[in-house]
Symmetry: C2
Subunit: 403 residues, 2 copies
């Protein structure tokens, strides 16, 4: 006996689950001796736990009751101060505090995606970004990505072939998940033009932008075209502070704010209030800048360590991207390892004690079976080397099986 006769799988898609047979709890597990390249999260020792606990222990007015749906005013104020530092023109009536960046994506899709609507995404892209769009009935069109991000030049041809314009274009423009690529300024400008031509919303998901550890800055959509009516910016403190807090924000046209409030009311009423106060006070007391300078140095070191380890242990057997910030390397097997199917590598790798997500989990098409996403942010250089050694053991074992 079941109450539904419509495809639940469509409303609650499980893209990662269709690729790898492993529960999130295993991947997130703190207790196993697994080198964790899988989840996109800072390591526990890079989160300001002591300071957080101190703030959490303090009384703040209204800490435990309902907050305003658009966010605690003191946090909105700090978000404005933070964006101002980045040269972004925005205002309180454009900011809505969200329960992590994920809720920002959920809100964008709730407002803009109707069943059958075309949504352009990057291939590969963040799995749960696709999942949210699919859950609202989107038809997803994956557009190619290169080292300068989404290949915007190819979009007109792809859209012409699709026979209709996209309702939304979902992009992770900076240190993209999973590739680490950053969309060039020229392409950002082109994308804005295309969005205007098609009347498409750009869902500008940028969780990593503040984690640039090398290279020159590339201006964001909100800097190139302040207050653009088609740019819906999704931001989060998950990657720059701690994902367990589930605090993010949306920077979107003023006309949308009441709709965002209405929609969020019917999702979770308001974002966890103590976490909003904690983040607001942490920012107000000036800790963020110090914290970011510290972690960015470590992330750079970890990225370099991972690339070094890959070179040492795999030689020409892998190619990897070289991101200037963020959390992820995108690795493709090559040479002697070219026949590795990463979906099949997942289980042996986990058995050998290293977790990383196979390429096909970042796509609806089954592509990228030669690729892996490796998060370098969670592990020390020593653990990274151990993880790469374990990955090599699993890959070698697999190659023997193939041979």
């Amino acid at each position: 006996m079941s109450a539904t006769h419509l495809p639940l799988a469509r409303r609650a898609p499980n893209l990662v689950g269709s690729v790898i047979d492993s529960s999130t709890s295993l991947l997130a597990s703190q207790t196993h001796d697994i080198v964790r390249f899988a989840m996109g999260a800072p390591s526990d020792d890079l989160m300001p736990v002591r300071v957080f606990n101190q703030y959490y222990g303090e009384s703040t007015p209204g800490k435990y009751t309902y907050g305003a749906t658009d966010g605690e005013p003191e946090l909105v104020e700090q978000v404005l101060a933070l964006t101002q530092l980045q040269g972004i023109e925005t205002s309180a009536d454009r900011i809505t505090i969200t329960t992590g960046g994920m809720q920002g994506l959920d809100l964008a899709c709730k407002l803009f995606v109707d069943p059958g609507d075309l949504v352009v995404v990057e291939g590969p892209t963040y799995t749960n970004g696709i999942a949210t769009a699919l859950s609202y009935g989107a038809e997803v069109l994956e557009a190619p990505l290169d080292e300068n991000g989404l290949v915007v030049e190819e979009l007109p041809e792809l859209i012409a072939r699709a026979g209709r314009t996209p309702k939304a274009i979902y992009t992770i423009p900076t240190f993209q998940n999973p590739s680490g690529a950053t969309l060039s300024r020229a392409r950002r400008e082109q994308l804005l033009e295309l969005a205007e031509r098609w009347g498409s919303v750009i869902i500008d998901d940028d969780p990593y932008g503040l984690l640039r550890f090398e290279g020159g800055p590339v201006p964001g959509f909100t800097q190139i075209a302040p207050g653009h009516p088609l740019v819906f910016s999704v931001r989060t403190f998950s990657k720059i502070l701690a994902p367990g807090l589930r605090v993010g924000w949306v920077d979107a046209p003023t006309e949308l704010q009441q709709l965002l409030i209405n929609a969020k009311q019917a999702m979770d009423t308001c974002t966890n209030v103590p976490a909003q106060h904690l983040v607001a006070n942490f920012l107000k007391d000036g800790h963020l800048d110090t914290h970011l300078r510290w972690v960015k140095g470590l992330y750079q070191e970890r990225k370099n360590a991972m690339r070094d380890s890959l070179r040492t242990h795999f030689g020409n057997g892998v190619r990897s991207t070289n991101p200037e910030g963020g959390f992820f390397l995108w690795l493709a097997f090559a040479g002697a390892y070219a026949d590795i199917h990463t979906q099949k590598l997942f289980e042996p790798a986990l058995r050998h004690g290293v977790a990383c997500i196979p390429g096909p989990a970042f796509s609806t098409t089954g592509a990228f079976s030669d690729a892996l996403r490796l998060c370098f942010a969670t592990s020390s250089p020593e653990r990274i080397d151990e993880g790469v050694v374990r990955l090599k053991r699993a890959a070698d074992e697999m190659l023997e099986g193939i041979a």
Copy 2:
């Protein structure tokens, strides 16, 4: 220039906003000298703030990173212990931790409601419950309510007239919001039979069930029909502990759990982890029972105080319900006050320093214009009396205007 050509108002409905011209932040305001009968929240002095702050200051493993989407295992364990105390048979594979009860409703609608589906709701009912269903395209059918809850006997006739069976039946069976009514056991059994006949999901939203301060218990759906495949139970710690924590749970058929995890992944990834640890530890250390005994005594006192004040100041000018638990009185103007339109009373009442929600906010039909929802949980007996005096002043002023 707008990116959408479909009615946004439908996807992000604002039922309260269409009735009263006031922002949530005003109603939730801590700074005004307004007697707060509006929001359904415990008063700050009834939340165990000191103990919460103490727990929040402690380090717990994995406190700041991503948690499992279905919830922190230690909280699931405590939820199971709590339900066991109530004689409810359930198991970990039926429990999903949610970001407040609101997310439980969002999940239910995401899984079960397609555009055009019929959803039965109580008239009046919880505004955001309707809003969530509407946001997924439901056609809402409001069924009448009396002092024994939803008038289940009238459903077959209503459904026959609608010409199709409901996909879901949304009920708040215990100390209903806004009426305070409790669905009788006989009606619960009848409703289960109808749900089986129609293949409808019962969305069993019970935030107040643990707040019975008088009268004999009425068994819930999960006690009458353990593990029933059509019962989707939504629970929360918002009303028994503190709404700002945004922690609740869903108790639903095992077959749904993976779908709930998938859907929640695409909503907010996981519920705020520190709040889950706090609630788990608070329950594990046995504080909940002591806390509930304490607040229930006070809520009973406050309900009686509110009824006494209404009698003293309005005499036969109002009728009100007499709930055996929960937070709300439902008041209808009568006698000399029979012509009061509560939607028009909202603004003068706020001006006189008392906030309460007009009846039409709990319906899509504009009905209940003679009614008000009064929350007695937020204010001391003295403040309650002051609030009722202010309400009378506003009503008298309005009557003078009408006369």
